[in-house]
Amino acid sequence: MFFEQVLQQIINGLMLGSIYISVAVAFTLAIGILNFLNFTIPALYMFAGMVGWSLSHYGLPFGLSGPIKWWFALFIGINCAILASLLVERFTYRYFKMKHGDATEHAIPLVSSLGFLLIFEYLILIAHGSDTRGFSTPFTNLDWRVAGFIISIPQLISLILSILIVAALSYLLIRTKVGRALRAIAENPDAATLMGIDVDRIVPVVFILIGFLCGVSASIFAINYHEVSPYMGDHVGTKAIAAMVIGGLGSVWGAIAGGLIVGLSETLSIYFFGASSAQITVWSLLLLLVVFKPTGLFGHNAIGKGKF
C-alpha cells in the first residue's frame, strides 16, 4: 500500500514537472543566448493565465463581447504574454544595447526585468484583486486508471506537449538558420553582427519564444489545476529557476530533466514532510547539487555558450 502511494506521488510529481519544464526552458533561453536572467518570466506566465481567465469570465474589455470560449481565451492570453515579452525586450535588453553597446555586462536589465515583474503583477492585482479564480474547462475527472494508479489524461497530454515543444525548440536551434544565428549570438554577439547577422531583429525572436513558452505553461496549469491567481507566477518562477540550475544553465534538455526532478521532489516532500517543506527540499537539493556539480546535470563550463 505504502509503495503504491509513493508511486502515485511520483506520477503526480512528473505531471507537476510538466508545468515547470516550459518556464525553465524560457529562463534557460534568456540566459543561454542573451546572458540575461529575465525575471519578468513569472509575470508573463501569470499574465497569460489571468488574461485567459478574464476573457473567459468577462469577455473582451469595454463590453465588446461576452465571455469567450476557454480555449480561445487562453490562445489570446498566450499572445498577450508574447506582446508583453516584446515590451520587456524593448525597455530592458534593447535599451541597454543602444545606450551602452552591451546589454548584459550590466545588472541593470536584470533589475529592470524585476521592475516589470512587479508592475505586471500589481496591474493585474488592481484589475482583478488578489483572489484565486476558478478556471473551468470541460476536462474534469478525466482520469485513466492503470493497475490501481490514477493518471489524469489532460496532465499526461500536457507532459507530452511540453516535451514536444522543447523538442521543437531544440530542432529550431540546431537545424534552422535562425537557430544557427541564435547560437552565434550566444557565443559572441559582436562577431555575429560582423558576420552580417541582424542581431537587433533576431534578439526579439528569443523574447517571442519566452512569451510563448510562458503562455503555454500557464495554459497547461489553468487546464489541469482549474485555477489561476495573480500570484501563480511566484510559485512557478522560483521552482523553474531551480529546475534550470539543476538541469544546467543554457541546456534546453537539461531544463526538462530539471523540471521533472523539481516536480518529483516537491510532491514527495509534501507527501512525507508536509506542504511547507517543498521549497526547502527543492532548494536544498539545488544547493547540494551545485556543490558537487556546479554546471548542473547537463550544463557546460562555458555557461550558456551555444550548447543546446
Binding site: 538558420k177 552565434a184 552580417g196
Partner: protein, 258 residues
C-alpha cells in the same frame, strides 16, 4: 587604365585627442593583392575598422566600387561585397567547422528565409556550398569537433573561408599570418594566392615581411597615422622614408625565407 575597387580619400580619425589617422588616401586596384604595413600603433587596424564600418571617420570618405560608404553600417557593407577577418580569431569556439563557415552566408540570407523549418534538407541550405568551398581549399570538416579544439593555422584558414562565404569582391585580412609558424605561413600564402586567383581583391595588414613580399604586389606604408609610401612592392626597399620609419632595420623588409 586600371580600375579601383576601394578609394580612401583624406581619412582622419582620432581617439580622445590622439590623432590615429591623418589624411590617409590611397586606392586599391581591383584584383590586386595589396598590403598595408607599418610599425605598431601606425593606425592600420583603425583604418580597417573605418573601412569595414566599425568606426566612422571624422573626416574623409571611403569609396567602395565608386560609391560613398558614409552611413552604411558594417552589416550592410558585407552585403555590398566587403568582408573581413580579424587579428584575433573570431570564430565561434563551440560550433563546428561547417557551422562556422555557414555563418558567413548569413549576410546573404533574408530574415524571413531563416525560419524555414525543413531548410536543412534543401539545396538552398548552403551546406553543400560550404562543404564544396572547404574541400576546394583542402580543409577537412573535422566532423564532431568544435573549432576551439583545432590548431591555430587551420582556424585562421577557416576564418578566411567564412569571410569568403559572404561572396566578397574585396577581402580585408587583419594580420592573417600572426602566430603562424613558417610552414603554416607558406600554406596560408598559397591559400590566399588561390583566393586571389578566384578574382577576389585582397587588402591585408601584416608584420611578416617575407610573407607580404611573397604574396602582395602593391603596398601602402603607414607611420604615426600618416601614409608614407604607396606603390608597387618591388620599389619599397628603395624608399628612404620607409627605411627611416623602420630605423635601418632593412632586414625587416627583405624576405629571405619566403
Amino acid at each position: 587604365m586600371s580600375e579601383f575597387i576601394l578609394k580612401l580619400s583624406n581619412i582622419s580619425k582620432s581617439f580622445g585627442g590622439v590623432k590615429v589617422l591623418e589624411n590617409v588616401s590611397f586606392d586599391v586596384e581591383k584584383g590586386s593583392r595589396h598590403a598595408l604595413i607599418g610599425p605598431n600603433g601606425a593606425g592600420k587596424t583603425t583604418l580597417f575598422n573605418v573601412i569595414s564600418g566599425i568606426h566612422d571617420p571624422e573626416k574623409g570618405t571611403v569609396y567602395f566600387k565608386g560609391k560613398d560608404l558614409r552611413g552604411v553600417p558594417s552589416r550592410k557593407r558585407i552585403h555590398k561585397g566587403l568582408s573581413r577577418s580579424f587579428q584575433n580569431i573570431r570564430l565561434m569556439p563551440h560550433l563546428s567547422v561547417l557551422e562556422n563557415v555557414m555563418l558567413g552566408q548569413h549576410s546573404r540570407i533574408d530574415f524571413v528565409d531563416m525560419f524555414k523549418p525543413l531548410d536543412f534538407l534543401s539545396k538552398s541550405s548552403g551546406k553543400g556550398e560550404a562543404i564544396e568551398t572547404l574541400k576546394s581549399f583542402g580543409i577537412d570538416l573535422h566532423k564532431g569537433q568544435t573549432v576551439s579544439s583545432l590548431p591555430y593555422g587551420i582556424r585562421k584558414k577557416i576564418e578566411v573561408v567564412r569571410a569568403l562565404m559572404a561572396k566578397p569582391s574585396l577581402l580585408l585580412l587583419d594580420e592573417p599570418a600572426a602566430g603562424l609558424n613558417t610552414a603554416e605561413t607558406k600554406k596560408l600564402r598559397d591559400f590566399l594566392k588561390e583566393v586571389s586567383r578566384r578574382g577576389i581583391t585582397l587588402l591585408l595588414v601584416d608584420h611578416d615581411m617575407p610573407f607580404v613580399n611573397s604574396l602582395c604586389n602593391q603596398v601602402s606604408v603607414m607611420n604615426f597615422g600618416q601614409l608614407i609610401y604607396d606603390g608597387p612592392i618591388s620599389e619599397l626597399k628603395n624608399d628612404r622614408k620607409v627605411l627611416e620609419a623602420y630605423l635601418g632595420s632593412e632586414n625587416n623588409l627583405e624576405g629571405s625565407n619566403a
